[in-house]
Structures are given as C-alpha cells and as structure tokens.
Symmetry: C2
C-alpha cells in the first residue's frame, strides 16, 4: 500500500520520481540478484495486457509462436563476427552443470539469432517453406553495468520475432511491417506517440543490415528507444548456412529479419503519462480501468452501498470493463482515493448512501485534460456502456496530450551547433538537424553533448524545410532526430 | 509435412512411436544444446492453449502472476538443507558474466523457492498481508542425464505457484485446492483421467512436508506424474525468515505451498490419446479443432468449393471453433487427410462440388468410439452450432475412452508378491496393493520390479476392500497405487 508515502516531484528529480513510483505503485522491486528486478503482480498485469495485445497483432500478421533453448553453445555465438562482437562482452556464461565442468561453455541467450538459425536451417529446404514467420516470448540476459527497473535490467522479458524470406524485398517489407505494428501498439494501446525511422550504422543491431526503431519522448524530455526491427540481410543465413532451393532450382541463402520489444515498454508507459500524484495508466493497459470505492458510516449503509457497488460492477463487466470494488474495511475512503491515484487507475467511482438514493455515482478521472471536469455525476441507468465510451475517450485524450507534449518539446531546422548545444542542455526534447553522414561527426556530437542521433526519420516525420548543413557545417545528406536518451 | 513417412506402431515399440510422432507432427525437434528441445509452432500452440486454460483457473481461484529472477545466488539455494540436497546436483551454474568471474556463482533456477522466499519476506509484515497467492510462468533448468522431448528435458517451461498463509490448515487447504484444479484441467481439457493422492516420503519434493500428485496412465501402461502440489510447512519460512505479526501481535512464520505443471503435459496428451495413425488431440487443446479440405478438379470447381469452404469457416468461427481451410495447391486431398490425421486434428470436413450442390459436407472424425460412425454427412444450414456440439461430444468421448482404458489396466487388491511381479512385468498398469509404510520395503520393491509407489490414493480412489498385508507380508498401514513410471 502506497498510502502516506511522499513522492518526489518530477521537476525536483525525475529519476527519483521514477524509482519511487515503481516501488510505491508496486510495479517492481529489487532482488538479491545484481541487476535483476522482481516484477510484482500489478506491474506484471500491465505486461500481460501488453503481451495479449501484441500477440494478437503478431498472429493477425501471420506469425506463430515457438520456443528455442535458453542456452547457446559458445561456438554458435561466435559464428557471426559482428554479432558476437556486439553481444559477447555482456553475456552470462554457464561453465558447470550437473556437478561437472562442461566441455563447451553455454551462453545464456542475450538474443536468439545464434540458436534459431542453425535450427531453422533444418526446417527450410524449398521456396515452398518460405516465408517462415516466428515469434518467441522469452527471458534474455545482458550483463549491464548500470541498471534501472524496466528500463535496463540484467534479465528482462521480451518477445523476439524471427523470420525468413525468399528475397531482400520481402524481408525489408516484413521489417517495415513489424515496425508499423509496434508503432500502432504504442500509439493505440500505450497512448505513447513515437517517431519511427532508420538507425545510423553505429547504432544498428550487431549483425543487421538496417535497424529501424520507434522513439518515444519521455516527460523529462529524454528519448526512449521503445522497439526495434532489423533487416538482417543474408548475414545470419551465411553464418549458419541457411539455404533453400528457389523456383529456378538454385540453392540460395534466405533473407532474415528480427524484431523485439521488452518489459522496457512498462518504463515507457510510466514516463509518458505519470505525474506528481503517481502513475497514470491508459485504460487499455490498466489492470483495473475503474475502481469503485463504496462510502459508508454504519452497517446499514455498508450493506446498501456494497450491494449497489456490486451491481455497478456486474453492469460494467458486461460492458467489457476491468473493474474492482475496493471494499477494504478499516481504511477511510480518502486513503483509498490516494492509493488508487498513486497506482494510476484511470477512473474512480464513489458510491455513498446519497448516491444510491439518487441512483447515480460520482465518477472521478485520474487524468483531466484542460477544459474537462475532473468529477462527473452519472446516472446508474446504462452506466456500463456510458463508462465504456467514457474510458475510450480518456484513452484518446492521453494520446492527444502526449502528442502535444512531444511537439512542444520538438524543435526543427537547427543548423547552428551552439544553439543545438543550448537546446539539448536547457530543454532536451527532440531536435531535428541535418547530418553530413559521417560517423566521426556523429561521435563528436555525442561526446560533446551526450545526445545521439535517435533516427533518420521516416518520410512522414520529416520537416518541410530541413537544414542544408550538418551541425559540423558540412553539407547535410539528410535530416536526423537527435536527443539525449535512456 | 508428415506425408508419406512410416510410423512405428505402438505395440511394436512405444518409445519409437513417441519419438516419431513428436517429429512427424512437428511438435518439437532436437537442438544443438544437449537435452534442450525446440518447441515448434504446432506443439507450442498446444502449450499456449493449456496455459490459457490453466491461467484462467488460477486467476479464478485468486492468484496473481508475477516474475522472479532466473538466477539464484548459490548461498540462497544452500539455505534449506533438504532442498539444496535435492536440487544442487542437477543445476547449471553461471560462473562468469560481463567478461569477468563472478564473486558468487549464480544457479539457473531449477525451481524458484530459494529466490521467491527471501523476496517475499520483505512483502509480508502482518496477517493483513496474507494470504499471498502468486503464480509464475517461466523456464527452469534441471541437468537431466536421460532426456526425452516434453517428458524430461534439461530446460522446460512450466508454471510454479507460490503461496503464503497464516496457518497450517489454510496452507493445506490451498495445496489440496490446486491439486483439484490440476485434476479438473487434466480431465476436462486434456481428457486425461488421473488418480490423485499423497506421495511417500521418499518421493516428495525436496523441502516439502507433503507432496500430492496427479498420476495419469499412458497407453503403454506406464504412469506419468503430471502435476504436483506441495505443502511446505514452515520450512522455507524458517530458512528465509519469513514472519508476520498475527492477530495476537506475535511474530510467527508463514506456512507456504508450491505447485507446478510443465510442458511435460504435452507428452502426457500424446501418450494418452495417440494411436498408430498419429496424434489424437482433444478439441479443447487442438490448434485446429477442424480442418476443411476442399476437393476440386478444375478452376471452376476450385472457385466453387473454396468459396463454400470459406463460408463454412466463417460460420464455424462464429460458433467459437478454431478452424483452418487447407487450400494448398499441388497436393491431393488424400495426402491432406493423411497429414492432418497424423497431426491429430479432431474433425475433418471434406467439401467437393457435389457437396456444395447438395448443400452438405462430409464430416470425418479422427477418433471414433465403438458404435459410432467415422463419417457423417451434415447439412450446411446451421453447421457451426451443430459442429460445436459435435466437437464437445468428441471431447467427452475421449475422456470416457481414456477412463475405460485406465480401468482395464488397473488391478486392485493384490497381496501376493509373485502375482504383483507378474502383473507389473506382463501388463503394467496401476496395481493397488497394501503397504507396510517402511521406506526399506518401498525401495526393495522398486529395485526388484522397477515399479514405484505412485501415490497413497485420495479417498475417492481407494478400493472397497484393500489388502490387509503389504507385498512384504507385514500388516498394511494403507492402500497404495504402484506402477512403472516415466
């Protein structure tokens, strides 16, 4: 129970606010294992709702789930040169098992390409076996130095899509399709607007031709990479000899992709909507979309309001709303309000004896856009379907507000380096600039400003008049989105 | 595609039959990691359907999902003496991570008691915090010497329930409740009858006071332990100092339970219903409950039957049936029949041009009980709801048949050791005998007959007239169920 604990304000110390909200809303807690968190029931329920939505979208686009081993023999990880270079330094290694030393050490998967491709090479023979469209829900381990709950943990939960295609065009189309699925999920379910685009070579996945990403902007004006989709070319097919006979009878390599999102999304959700009162959850991902708080003084009133609360609950469940009646005794209504506000429940219904007599309830929003009322009295008749509409409206309002916030923190057309430095230092946010295309220049700006190129934005996110020059003064080869990031 | 491959018959070599069916129905395949299998999409979908049903039952009994770390610091595993003795010999150990040797080795969880209880000790303070009712869906690793797909693998997927209670009676009630949930799932969803009861001390979970189990009887007359539920007493609470203030103000230890089922259930499903033609799936756990095979000779017929097939599909989906239209070209209908029979699809609908004209389809069952017709012509009108009822009937018939098979392979009231030895050697199955209660006697019988005491059966499974004497001749202290087992 969060009741009574003070929460640091976002403006005071955003990082402290984040850590406190994770604890106080009982989303996660620390564990005795360095860098590993425990996902508590309330936090895990949010992840389950995310999983359910994503899994449905993956299946609707033709993907099937499968499960591959947790361990990779070290020799397999070593096969793709760039991949092993990127991942080996942060792996956990099993050297002993069953009481003896292993002949070959096993790597706990940091990602599964190096175990999936040697296996798929047995499944794929002909063009008729393609495309292969797989997804896996799993835990992975990356030995990170600095960890934060949800945002960066040694072990995390994720899904990893792995697909094989007959040619580059189909692989590229799949890579883009899944980036689109992620964007739709982030906007429609998380109410978190994202900018999509291509990563620069220095930021792409180790072993990929191209990496695309969704970038959200958090309330502290730092960017969060929320999901990535990789066009892997023939790289893994060559490393693991995954070939098929094409329609012309030739044995050629498959083209593959991989794409993933993780429990990091829960961190994104917290930092997109949370405020100084605590968590703010969009209805679609709230463990409870509504909590009913009955108010009573004596036993007679207790029976009356509890009975009414339970009838409202049944009505709401019939309208497809996740609802909870907080009938805890020995706790006053104000404390309950405080508790559920801290936990981000989108809507609270207060039901007292007078409300029952008036056949109405008082609905109180967690998030109130400007110009709307925080409290609304609503008649009991037809309440379920009215609240369904009301909650769907809140979902949309959260996206609108998050979009407005991001736009207010986005500056376009910056060419002057001093101005760029001032913007990054003083306000953060997304800064659109030109880029000469050189990795050295990218690295200089990163070292001097702690900002990185988040993406080379997709067409729909490009500015009308992009700068002609890079921050270094050289001619720009295209627009980029820069920010300090998690 | 399984088409054309010969399947060893069950009577010829049950073990070979099992391995072939796992491969040919594309349920799982081997991996480059010793003892670890790959769960292929068709097998994983069965597991997903199992998960969905079980998860609903866990939530309906008040449990919440959470997630705890994959790794246990070795010192934590060492805390509960009996527990570490039972599990340490089969663990996998991480000694290096992030490029350096770890100060303390990490154990990959073989089960999670040793990481969950130190964490829960921070969550539980007062009797008002109890009961704690948690479940985790996760992978675990046990370094097994001899492995078989689904039945015994080094890594496997499972769920593990972990609960804390204020006293022994409530913990015992929970242990029994979850055993009942497992039994209901196995009977109602898997159509796999089980005998439930108490494990002997030598067979109980390392660290438990009492272990209860569900025991199925496979088609080769060997028993399969399909699920276990443990009353852990105060053992883990004492080892990890998990105490709470009770209503009297005393600080006392919690009473805990744990319970689990795993991907082993998929193996149980295969061996409960499969036959010489391949897999036989109960509708409730079949990735496709029905496959529609359109039959055509020319383009005109092709359009006609495909159109009719898709209309039937829509009708069936509206009735809540998982259905697939097999419209593969270049493959004759007979090969498709063979393929889906091998994969155990409960019902096939054949739709040819004449069927379309007659406004009917031919429905062909995978499993046909004696006295029923394998093929039934059915009118197109109202097909969806008729098939829903038909499939529900097949589900029941499978349970009835499995129950009859088990009863036919069960012998009760055996007192004579020579007769017992002959029964176990020649027919297998469940043999009910008396037991003196001595571990030495239990061990002797195990060594001499390779059979074990599966359970001390719950009251509803006890015989009317149980033997007065154990197989060793000493007075019996109660009836037991013995069998050779997986």
């Amino acid at each position: 129970m969060s009741n009574g604990k003070r929460l640091t304000s976002q403006s005071e110390d955003f990082s402290a606010w984040y850590n406190e909200i994770v604890q106080q809303a009982e989303l996660a807690s620390h564990s005795p294992v360095r860098g590993c968190m425990v996902i508590r029931p309330y936090g895990y329920r949010i992840w389950e709702l995310m999983q359910g939505a994503l899994d449905g979208m993956f299946k609707a686009t033709g993907h099937q789930n499968a499960y591959f081993p947790l361990f990779l023999p070290k020799s397999l990880l070593d096969r793709e040169a760039e991949h092993v270079e990127g991942f080996a330094p942060e792996t956990a290694i099993v050297t002993h098992a069953g009481g003896t030393k292993l002949e070959e050490p096993l790597v706990v998967r940091p990602t599964s390409e190096a175990i999936i491709w040697p296996i798929l090479s047995d499944w794929i023979h002909s063009y008729r076996d393609l495309p292969v469209l797989l997804n896996q829900w799993a835990n992975v381990v990356r030995w990170e130095m600095r960890t934060r709950p949800f945002l960066r943990t040694t072990e995390f939960l994720w899904q990893e899509g792995h697909t094989a295609h007959a040619n580059e065009a189909e692989a590229e189309e799949e890579t883009r399709r899944m980036l689109g699925v992620y964007r739709t999920f982030m906007e429609d379910w998380m109410a978190m607007p994202v900018v999509t685009g291509l990563k620069t070579d220095t930021e792409r996945f180790a072993g990929a031709l191209r990496t695309y990403a969704c970038e959200g902007l958090m309330k502290d004006n730092k960017a969060l990479q929320a999901g990535t989709s990789h066009s892997l070319g023939e790289n893994f097919a060559r490393a693991f000899d995954v070939r098929f006979q094409n329609e012309e009878g030739e044995h050629v390599y498959v083209w593959s992709t991989s794409w993933g999102v993780s429990t990091r999304l829960v961190g994104g959700l917290i930092m997109t909507h949370g405020d100084d009162e605590g968590l703010v959850l969009p209805p679609k991902l709230a463990p409870y979309e509504t909590v009913i708080v009955p108010i009573w003084r004596d036993e007679e009133q207790h029976r009356l309001v509890l009975d009414a609360s339970n009838r409202v609950k049944v009505d709401m469940e019939a309208a497809g709303i996740r609802v909870h009646v907080d009938d805890r005794e020995g706790m006053n209504p104000g404390s309950k309000y405080y508790d559920w506000e801290r936990r981000g429940v989108p809507l609270r219904l207060e039901i007292g004896p007078r409300d029952v007599q008036a056949e109405s309830v008082m609905a109180v929003r967690r998030f109130t856009p400007e110009g709307s009322d925080r409290k609304t009295a609503m008649p009991l008749a037809g309440l379920g379907s009215r609240l369904r509409t009301f909650l769907d409206g809140i979902q949309e309002e959260l996206l609108t507000a998050a979009l407005a916030r991001r736009e207010a923190a986005t500056v376009r057309g910056i060419e002057d380096y001093a101005e760029f430095q001032r913007l990054i230092e003083e306000q953060g946010g997304f800064v659109y600039t030109g880029w000469c295309g050189e990795a050295d220049c990218e690295q200089n700006v990163k070292e001097e400003t702690k900002s990185t190129i988040r993406v080379i934005p997709d067409e729909e996110f490009r500015s009308d008049g992009a700068p002609a020059r890079c921050l270094c003064g050289a001619p720009s080869k295209g627009e980029v989105v820069r920010a300090r990031a998690y």
